[in-house]
Symmetry: C2
């Protein structure tokens, strides 16, 4: 008889689940469905979990990664913008009532940090920052081998540091946050603004360029696109220097699509870090690495969360 | 027979020590001398400690608060600018060799955070930020009832977050850090610059105003002084919003002389926090309070450090 952990990754597009034997990082079963479909999302999620439930041993715990503001201490999802009806959803309690095993819930970016630390690029490291640079910017922090949660589990929102006073509007409604300047969305928007202002570029204004378009054009030598990525990388580096002073990690793990732009983005990141730290002690044995778990990071983070508690 | 803890506070001006019975926060002996004087600072410190050493019971441990960059994990002071000869000083080892009891060393601002959390304004709180706004800006963070150290004990340097790109030069050599804009030194410098530029004020340019002068003039209604403090408070608030996103504390404890300027400084701090947080969840039960341990915070922090380990 084997004990198991069951991992859930709740995305705006897909619901995923995987069953792991205790002590293993190789799932023996996994399933995925669209987040939207007939019936309530909760019923569909429970059905999905049932499909991978083992019949040859107990499930020690379920770990679940969820987007949006959540309280991991209570297991409540405050708001999941892409899931109809999920406001103040007590997911931990709902799943525990349904499956009769302990359930642990975490913010997806926080759990990505935990996943990369436990199973990915950050293995063996004790103090780690994780940032994902994608449509938004999410983060998570490991200190002394523990995920930093804060009072209500809202810590690690590293995308919402103010890097440019009175800067562009952020998705959260405030101004000048890192996410409003260095996310993929922000990079594409800045490029579009420059095109609208008449700057020359191989990018075309209609349809508006995506971050991927900017990245591709930068690889091909387009000056405007290179500037767009370099500017974003600069501000990310400034923010990372701030986080080095705050947390003093030994490793920064960077995930998300924008990172695949490579050196045109990463060289300015490193330069800005070095130009803003108060002492070389913060960078002398600092590793800056790419995330390694790809699309599975949410499932691995959920597994790490469940296995860390049960 | 009583067990004791012995606390040391190493300042640029004074060396202080106090002897506490285990379980008590009332010292039974305390002594202080000038940091500079005849003989080596280490010999003078050892002599000072010997003068309060108990003869009716063992010392469980010595805790010591020291300024400047130190590694609390190894007990080495990298540099103490105000103490001649203290570069890469292995203070933990020196004191352990001399007194034959365990010694724990901490950065003074970090230990002030620990002291306020254990014995002062932050008692009973689990997640706390401490900032001291004085000639410089130092900080410390308590998360889940533990002091945040980071990989090399360099975490919590909250004064060195970039709040104004390409802003004024900081004492650390970088630009635009919070300390370069909101410390007492920075407030006084900004006021002096405005006077030099011809602004009207009750402050006089020669001798240059101190932060205390600015504070006093602001209380009396001087518009320039009010603006100086309000500007500093604004940037402090922006930085605190960043730290709320990073750490999600339930309390911010503010120490240092600048805080005594009162509402002219603190109202802009609160306003900027509310204007920059991504969600009201970060402030809804947040307490912002003044530090309560005054000049003794270093000794209490050192006591808290020693008692937390032995």
């Amino acid at each position: 008889m084997t004990d198991y952990y069951l991992a859930i990754d709740i995305g705006g597009t897909r619901l995923r689940t995987a069953l792991f034997p205790a002590g293993s990082r190789e799932p023996v079963r996994h399933e995925r469905i669209s987040t939207r479909g007939a019936g309530s999302t909760l019923d569909r999620l429970c059905d999905l979990v049932s499909r991978v439930w083992p019949n040859d041993g107990p499930v020690r715990a379920i770990g679940a990664a969820a987007p949006g503001p959540i309280n991991p201490r209570t297991g409540v999802i405050y708001a999941a913008p892409n899931i109809p009806g999920w406001r103040n959803m007590p997911l931990k309690k709902e799943l525990e009532d349904h499956f009769h095993v302990p359930v642990e819930l975490g913010n997806d970016a926080n759990l990505a940090a935990l996943g990369e630390w436990r199973f990915g690029a950050g293995m063996g490291c004790h103090n780690l920052l994780y940032l994902t640079i994608s449509t938004g910017i999410g983060g998570g922090v490991i200190l002394d081998d523990s995920l930093v949660l804060g009072e209500h589990g809202l810590a690690g929102e590293l995308g919402h540091i103010t890097v440019l006073p009175d800067g562009p509007l952020c998705g959260c409604g405030q101004r000048g946050h890192l996410e409003a300047i260095a996310s993929g969305t922000a990079i594409a928007r800045w490029a579009a603004e420059q095109l609208a202002a008449g700057r020359q570029s191989s990018l075309t204004p209609d349809p508006a360029p995506t971050a991927k378009d900017v990245s591709r054009a930068a690889q091909a030598g387009d000056a405007l696109s290179i500037e767009a990525l370099s500017r974003a990388g600069h501000f990310l580096g400034v923010a990372l220097a701030d986080f080095l002073h705050a947390f003093n990690p030994s490793m920064i793990v960077l995930g998300g699509g924008v990172i695949s732009s490579g050196e045109v983005f990463l060289a300015p990141v490193r330069q800005a870090i070095y130009d803003h730290v108060m002492s070389p002690a913060y960078v002398q044995d600092l590793k800056i690495v790419k995330a390694s778990l790809g699309d599975d990071v949410g499932l691995f983070g959920a597994l790490a969360l469940a296995a860390s508690k049960y």
